[in-house]
């Protein structure tokens, strides 16, 4: 095989991948825009979603995401700080915890759904509810978030830690005032990955937050998220394709929006010279 042929094969493989993924993105855009409108985002679904809009579904999605965020960020930051600042790297407990987190990240979403169903909905008695769904998603988002945050913290200049010790700053001060703000880009990246995964999730939510497409009235209400709506429209509702694509575009746009928002917030945080504790 000559040099030239090898290069041609690589170009071909890359071009084909580019075209395939590009086609998919293009199709979502093309088929989605035809059904997307302001009304679509602000109306109730009619006729199982064939007509009308997705307002309750969008609302449920945002509530579930907020619940996920509420549990993932504080818990995730606590775990990351413990792993990177409060124990030695070779500590056996920390190693074990890391394996546990890796394993948690690998649990298939449908299995997570089974667990959420049994544990949150039945054992803890939350029933089919946005809360159960949000908690289940937290279990999936946490290991991703922690992994990225720990990497960000370990990548920081270790001189700061020595300097803080030389100045007699407590670990608490160092962490809150220096390390966390400095690693905010990594935290943002972790948040984007984790939230992206959570927003895209459908299998784990079918048995936890449920199918109901009414407007949720509290976190203990059942509610349908965007991805479950897409699934339902595509599989169970004949003639729902157009609405399904419009929802798919909304969902993809939502994920992109979350990315932009998180990056914006983290830059604000960094510029503002950190938390004032």
């Amino acid at each position: 095989m000559s040099e030239r042929l090898f290069e041609m094969i690589i170009w071909f493989v890359a071009a084909l991948s580019f075209v395939l993924i590009g086609t998919l993105i293009f199709d979502i855009g093309r088929l989605g825009t035809s059904g997307l409108s302001f009304d679509f985002l602000t109306q109730l679904p009619v006729n199982s979603g064939r007509a009308g809009g997705i307002l309750p579904i969008l609302t449920s999605t945002l509530i579930v995401l907020c619940i996920t965020l509420t549990f993932t960020v504080p818990l995730g930051i606590a775990c990351s700080l413990w792993l990177s600042e409060f124990v030695e790297r070779k500590n056996a407990a920390a190693q074990l915890a890391k394996i546990g987190l890796d394993a948690l990240a690998g649990v298939p979403s449908i299995v997570m759904g089974l667990f959420g169903h049994v544990f949150f909905s039945q054992f803890l008695g939350f029933g089919f509810s946005l809360l159960s769904g949000g908690l289940t998603l937290s279990c999936m988002a946490l290991p991703i978030f922690i992994k990225t945050t720990v990497e960000g913290l370990t990548a920081l200049d270790s001189d700061w830690r020595r300097q803080a010790a030389a100045l007699g700053l407590s670990k608490t001060t160092l962490v809150w005032n220096v390390l966390l703000p400095a690693s905010s880009p990594a935290i943002a990246a972790g948040l984007i990955l984790a939230l992206g995964r959570a927003t895209a999730e459908s299998a784990a939510l079918i048995f936890t937050s449920g199918y109901v497409d009414r407007m949720p009235e509290s976190v203990f209400d059942s509610g349908r998220v965007l991805s479950v709506h897409i699934y339902d429209l595509a599989m169970n509702v004949t003639g729902g394709d157009k609405a399904a694509y419009a929802t798919a575009l909304t969902l993809t746009a939502l994920i992109l929006l979350i990315n932009v928002f998180v990056i914006w917030v983290s830059e604000k945080w960094l510029k503002g010279g950190a938390l004032n504790l």
Binding site: S2, E3, F6, E7, I9, I10, W11, V13, A14, S17, F18, L20, I21, L24, D27, I28, L75, A78, C79, L81, W82, L83, I99, G100, L101, D102, A103, L104, G106, V107, P108, S109, I110, V111, G113, L114, F115, V118, F119, F123, C139, L142, S170, K171, T172, T199, A200, S202, A203, I206, S227, V228, I230, Y231, A234, M235, A244, Y245, A248, L256
Partner: protein
Amino acid sequence: MFKLSSFFRLNLDLFWGRLFGILTAVVACLVGLILFFLVRESLPVFHELSWKDVFSKSEWYPMSGHFGMAGMVFATVAVAWGALLAATPFGIGCAVFMVFLAPRSLMIAMKMILAIGAGIPSVVFGLWGLTVLVPWIAEHQPPGASLLASIFILGLMILPTVALTSYSALLSLPSSLRQASLALGIGIKGHVLSVALPAAKNGLVAGMILALARAAGETMAVLMVSGNIAAFPSSIFDPVRTLTANIALEMSYATGQHRAALFASGLLLAICVLVMVVFAHFFQRHRIHE
């Protein structure tokens, strides 16, 4: 002029350390909790289940006590490995292209499209497969929803992940390697095949294991394009049903032994994937130690 508040401050450190440690322990133990509940829920069926039948028969009639999962286990393995085998050459090809061949603008475009692709929800891949790919296959070889369609959609889904992890594995190689090859007059082909890829091997393999785990655990995308028939497929154009799809399809109405059997299949799946993940964990660690 300085008050000694050290006692209080140091205790604050101790307090946070303890608290964070406990929280980490809780989160790390979640995986144990998951396994515990899966086992608990599948216990009722354990004494009735003959594992030999489960893996050798394809009759899945849980209402009448037939728990043959061979067809579904095969479908799960075939779909995951098929997707990985299909995606790997393309993924690594894209990575090699970006690192060694692409002009800057194309490299950025490629990276962007891969990043967007990696962020698209699996259910959207499923939707596209259902409305574009399946009808297209059906034109040539009905029914369309099939093992092939599942492999194609899952392969496309993990392609960006494989490409991006391979890309970072290749990028993390020291640039001196490339300079050494250049100095020896080795071309791109020789460098890629005999220097770069072998050197980045562990990173590539770790990325592939994670992609395989993701493919094996995927539910919705497969569910939408696989046809969902629990029998053993006789060709690549036959419809199949994976373990994950099975759970998603039947869980909402399953009771008693049927429900327990579904949990047992979930447990089986979880254990397989966990083994892969822990394996990948050690693979990555060894890379650092080498």
